[in-house]
């Protein structure tokens, strides 16, 4: 299952980054596919990007909301939020585990042999702050003399943008080097921080900072497809705790917003069919065998 997941993550990477003509054009893809939402975090200023980033688009619409309303257009983010919400309602954070290029990048980094460190749990709340403040409120409320805000998350934080767009654009258009300043070096520092942290800790950006993950996490309990915990079959052996890349104790918090549904707990840990996939209430588990089995 883990091999299949890696394969699907790779396919998604190439689907949302499918424009490989950029070394010739020296520019980003500008075709009609960019009206399609990338389910995972993938900067749309990446030269290969074929879809739009929901976070980037939402910030861009919110920062220019006054201007668009003044000109009679009502671009308030309904299309973007609707798309994000529909994806969240169907899959929730399945997307993080199966379709996010930056999640895949962190997982590959974590395979590098090193001292492995636990993730400080209180930091999981930070990403909700980034979602509310850096993606919604700051772009909407902190405006310049022309009434325009800034895309705070993209501009000051997003390491995916630096990796996928900032560095490649400088390589493609070397004349841009004259324009780099503290903003660029600040973002490079954030990228280096997350690269090093990812080697030591599993998916630190997803767990601490990603506003898209925070948004999808809101749906984890009520999404269409989710993991189901079958308490009758659970022996409390704790095997599911040890394999979870997000540090969840699945048998204690089966609807945790942190669950990226990588299915490791179901396929690699639980031997008692206590975890199964479920769609809208229909469980794909084998028939329940309620007698308790031996604890391992």
């Amino acid at each position: 299952m883990e091999t299949a997941r890696k394969l699907i993550q790779t396919v998604w990477f190439f689907l949302v980054n499918g424009f490989w003509g950029f070394p010739l054009t020296k520019n980003i893809y500008q075709g009609p596919l960019k009206v399609v939402c990338s389910p995972g975090l993938n900067c749309y200023s990446c030269p290969a990007a074929t879809t739009y980033c929901p976070l980037g688009s939402l910030q861009q619409l919110l920062l220019g909301i006054r201007f668009s309303l003044e000109t009679g257009s009502v671009y308030i983010g309904t299309y973007v939020v609707g798309t994000m919400g529909l994806l969240g309602a169907i899959c929730g954070r399945f997307i993080c585990g199966w379709a996010c290029p930056f999640g895949l990048f962190q997982e590959l980094l974590h395979k590098i042999p090193s001292v492995k460190l636990p993730f400080p749990r209180p930091l999981t709340w930070l990403k909700y702050g980034f979602l509310v403040l850096f993606v919604v409120l700051f772009p909407l409320l902190l405006v310049d003399e022309f009434g325009l805000g800034a895309p705070w998350f993209c501009k000051y934080v997003c390491p995916a943008g630096t990796l996928e767009a900032g560095i490649p654009m400088l390589l493609l258009q070397p004349e841009l080097k004259t324009t780099i300043g503290w903003l660029y070096w600040n973002k490079i520092a954030i990228l280096i921080l997350f690269v090093l942290w990812s080697i030591a800790t599993s998916r630190p950006f997803c767990r601490s900072t990603c506003p898209l993950g925070a948004f999808y996490a809101l749906f984890n309990k009520h999404r269409l497809i989710k993991l189901k915990f079958i308490a009758e079959n659970c022996t409390q052996c704790g095997a599911c705790h040890h394999v979870c890349p997000m540090g969840i104790n699945f048998n204690e918090t089966p609807d945790s917003g942190e669950c990226i549904s990588c299915l490791k707990c179901m396929t690699q840990a639980c031997k008692f069919d206590a975890i199964s996939l479920e769609m809208a209430g229909y469980s794909f588990a084998r028939d329940i065998v309620p007698q308790k089995k031996k604890t391992v």
Binding site: S45, G56, A89, P151, T162, L224, Y282
Partner: protein, 51 residues
């Protein structure tokens, strides 16, 4: 002992999906996709730490 699986439909996902589909349709009616496309076609240099 083998028990038959019970199936009780969860309605919440369908309510959410309907609500967000309506939002998408409202966005399309307001012409937002063309604005999203316009934004996504342009490189936002300050967004990627340049400029």
């Amino acid at each position: 002992m083998i028990m038959k699986k019970k199936f009780s439909l969860r309605k919440a996902p369908f309510i959410l999906m309907t609500g967000f589909t309506v939002l998408i349709l409202v966005g399309i009616a307001l012409g937002e996709p063309s604005r999203v496309l316009e934004l996504a076609k342009a490189i936002c240099l300050s967004c990627i730490g340049i400029g």
